[in-house]
């Protein structure tokens, strides 16, 4: 496909890798924020092609992984109610809550449906006026414009049977949490290209400056990723702190203004708990009070939730770049994609799933 195939050109990737080898003089640890990039790196073996001086650690940019177990449990409680049609992106169905997942609810007779777009959920609400339709609105900044458009559309259509269960998180507060940690060892960041497509990258220079950490807006094809690494390594080697853009065909400094304005209109910032990590101040979005009628947490009685995590799962440390999946005693043994202990083993963006699917005996294990 145009704008995809040409960024997978093997000889160009090879040249960019050669340039990285030429530039690097000492060890550097970089973090790719986005789980989609983690999977691309593992799938194409980019981590193995890099000079040994460059270590990539994997960031928290997987909304499925960081959605707290409390919210998964709330989703399970709502989806179990007989008059409810519960809609979700497919990735969430196998995420373990306390003792079960959304697939279990469906197997027990719950009406749980996978949708491609949140507007599909609104359509289901239109077609089923006698039933409550709830959409599991998870995501980073990338997904916020789509999720909130479903609320605006339901409002415009006068629907009273549509609501969303919001689990929205933002990247900049997570960067503060990672860089502010006493255990941090990340020296440069590959910023998430599609988050920046929406938000631009004007939020990042003050963070780069505060922690003296260079960052590069990076895309998702192999060539985009090696270019992002190259630009970050060049800055590190030159002792230069800056935020550069290696994904200029999609990302501008300002981002998508129309999307940002709509987010401001519908969402307001809030503290948010990240699964395995804990509460990060001002790291989330929730619906503004004027959209309360579309807030599933207000609409349903969800008092009887007693969330419990697997004591074996170290996903929180993996999501902060402190550990890697093979460091976990349960990895590939008690915890597999068929029987996951944590969300990072389930999601198509989870680091544990990436290592499990693309693992190379003798190197990763």
């Amino acid at each position: 496909m145009k704008y995809q195939d040409e960024y997978r050109d093997q000889s160009l990737v090879g040249e960019a890798l050669e340039e990285i080898r030429r530039v690097v003089t000492r060890p550097w640890t970089l973090m790719e924020i986005c789980g989609g990039q983690t999977h691309a790196i593992m799938r194409h073996g980019i981590d193995q092609l890099l000079p040994t001086e460059i270590e990539l650690v994997h960031g928290p940019g997987c909304p499925v992984c960081v959605t707290p177990v409390e919210l998964v449990d709330k989703a399970l409680a709502i989806a179990s109610q007989p008059d409810v049609i519960f809609t979700s992106y497919g990735d969430m169905l196998r995420v373990p809550g306390t003792g079960m997942d959304l697939f279990t609810v469906r197997a027990r007779g719950g009406d749980v449906r996978v949708v491609y777009s949140p507007l599909d959920a609104v359509r289901i609400a239109q077609q089923n006026p006698q039933r409550q339709v709830v959409f599991f609105a998870i995501g980073f900044e990338t997904t916020a414009p789509a999720n909130i458009m479903s609320v605006l559309q339901a409002q415009a259509l006068g629907l009273t049977n549509y609501s969303i269960l919001v689990s929205h998180v933002r990247v900049p507060p997570a960067l503060h949490a990672i860089l502010g940690s006493a255990h941090n060892r990340v020296q440069g960041f590959l910023l998430a290209g599609h988050v920046c497509a929406v938000m631009g990258y004007h939020e990042y220079p003050p963070i780069a400056e505060q922690y003296q950490t260079p960052m590069t807006v990076t895309g998702f094809e192999p060539l985009d990723i090696v270019r992002g690494i190259l630009q970050t390594v060049r800055m590190l080697e030159a002792g230069r702190v800056s935020v550069e853009n290696a994904y200029t065909r999609v990302v501008t400094y300002e981002g998508n203004r129309a999307a940002q304005q709509t987010i401001q209109r519908v969402f307001t910032e809030c503290d948010r708990k990240w699964r395995g990590i804990g509460v990060i101040p001002n790291s989330g979005w929730r619906l503004r009070p004027e959209f309360e009628a579309f807030d599933a947490e207000k609409k349903f009685d969800l008092q009887a939730i007693h969330p419990e995590e697997s004591p074996l799962c170290i996903a929180g440390q993996i999501l902060q770049g402190l550990k890697k999946p093979p460091d976990c005693a349960a990895f590939g043994v008690q915890c597999t994609p068929e029987s996951p202990l944590g969300a990072t083993m389930v999601s198509s963006e989870g680091a544990c799933a990436a290592y499990y699917h693309y693992r190379r005996p003798g190197r990763d294990l």
Binding site: E6, T143, V198, A208, A259, E349
Partner: protein, 92 residues
Amino acid sequence: MCLGVPGKIVEIYEQGGLKMGKVDFGGVLRETCLAYVPEAQVGDYAVIHVGFALNLLDEAEALETLALLKEIGEFESGLGLSGPEAADEISG
């Protein structure tokens, strides 16, 4: 989740008060919401995420990126960034 796929807008129409369109992903057509790219026209490429166009693709920048990468082999170590690249840079 943040997967975004480039596609070509082949049709634009209004539905339920929203700007919508059909987007061609290498032969597969999908309905897409274009509400956040009001400037979109038939023939434009956009990055699509969960049925929404996030942004239009900048063709000139796309070509520029490829040209730049093709030149990388010729770059001397330590030469640093060239003109168009420097313009993308924001001092931290």
